[in-house]
């Protein structure tokens, strides 16, 4: 056990290890082996009421928007990644996001949606679309700190929180899909928080600029949470707060105003 005790790694070795393709390969083997589009192939679908189906389709349509955004942002960021290790990590994130998009689109088809992208367009959450446009602008501007903040801190924390909230009450197939996605999102969120945290320590003047971005994007995120909570049937105020608590804690840890 001593040989592989992760807590004995030097900081440099730890970063090299966890950002590598080799780490990703061995990590995802644990939970993706034997799955078929993100879920255990032995699972069968339950019967949904019309209302349940409608809410589930709307939720997954918006998940598709989020994942497509993440796919486009992370692939766009590789070109200006500050070092090869970050580029390699982002490459694993590109495949993760692509996989998430693929499994959600597949889920829509399983739920009877004939033309997923038309459905997605029709049911898109407007706050989420605005967030997406702003994030992709930051990527086009090749602003690393801002893009990492918006993508890996804000967007990924939002997804992580929402997926975790839905998991316990989701149908078995959706739950299985979300379980594997949440495992990927941990890596993405962690990369963002730690990379940004390090950069803020090294260059504190960056904080002011990112504070502006945080103030700009937070209302869009919180509006998305409110609408999503409604779609998931989480109507009580305290559950609405819970869905955003994790996200707000992340922002606070990095020292940004909420």
């Amino acid at each position: 056990m001593g040989e592989f005790d992760p807590h004995n790694l030097s900081e440099e070795d730890f970063h090299a290890e966890v950002h590598s393709f080799q780490f990703w390969l061995e990590a995802v083997e644990g939970y993706l082996s034997g799955t078929d589009f993100g879920f255990e192939p032995t699972l069968t679908d339950q019967t949904f009421s019309a209302r349940e189906l409608n809410f589930l389709i709307t939720t997954i349509c918006n998940y598709c928007i989020a994942e497509k955004t993440a796919l486009e942002a992370s692939s766009g960021m590789i070109r200006f990644a500050p070092d090869p290790e970050s580029a390699i990590f982002l490459s694993t994130q590109v495949v993760d996001e692509g996989r998430h998009l693929e499994v959600f689109v597949h889920r829509l088809k399983m739920l009877g949606v004939i033309d997923p992208w038309s459905e997605i367009k029709a049911r898109a959450n407007q706050s989420l679309l605005k967030f997406k446009d702003r994030l992709l602008e930051l990527v086009d501007q090749q602003d690393w700190e801002a893009a990492i903040f918006a993508q890996n801190v804000i967007l990924e924390a939002m997804e992580f929180t929402v997926f975790q909230s839905q998991q316990p009450t989701a149908d078995p197939i959706t739950r299985s899909i979300l379980a594997s996605i949440v495992k990927d999102e941990r890596r993405h969120m962690g990369f963002g928080e730690n990379d940004l945290g390090r950069k803020l320590v090294q260059a504190p003047h960056t904080r002011r600029r990112l504070d502006q971005i945080s103030k700009e994007l937070n209302p869009l995120v919180l509006a998305t949470f409110t609408e999503t909570a409604s779609e998931l049937g989480i109507l009580h105020e305290d559950r609405e707060l819970a869905i955003s608590a994790n996200y707000l804690a992340t922002i606070k840890r990095l020292g940004f105003a909420v």
Binding site: M1, G2, F4, D5, P6, H7, N8, L9, E11, F14, H15, V18, H19, F23, E26, A27, G30, Y31, F160, K183, R186, R187, M189, G190, F191, E193, N194, G197, R198, L200, V201, N246, A249, T250, R253
Partner: protein
């Protein structure tokens, strides 16, 4: 930060733990026994465990943890330091 050489020499008087598999499957096999899922507010952590505040996975150590210890959360790639607050051990992210 606490001196890892003290651990090796056994001079630190800490309890040692043999870690078994927990079913955790999000990191390479060789690291899996160092992590487990957190089951919520009622999950009582052992003296060799702390909760990662970033991703809410329980981090496990082969030795009893004390304030100042450095631990890593591999699921979210965070570096953390163990601290004591209100009589409870917790982990704080170090950037």
């Amino acid at each position: 930060m606490n001196d890892p050489l003290e651990v090796i020499a056994g001079r630190d008087q800490r309890k040692r733990y043999t870690l078994g598999e927990t079913g955790f499957n999000e990191v390479p096999k060789k690291y899996r026994k160092f992590y487990r899922k957190w089951s919520g507010q009622n999950d009582k952590l052992a003296p060799n465990e702390v909760l990662c505040p970033v991703c809410l996975v329980v981090i496990r150590s082969a030795r009893e943890l004390r304030p100042g210890d450095r631990v890593y959360c591999m699921p979210c790639m965070s570096r953390l330091v163990v601290a004591m607050e209100d009589g409870m051990l917790l982990a704080k992210v170090v950037y």
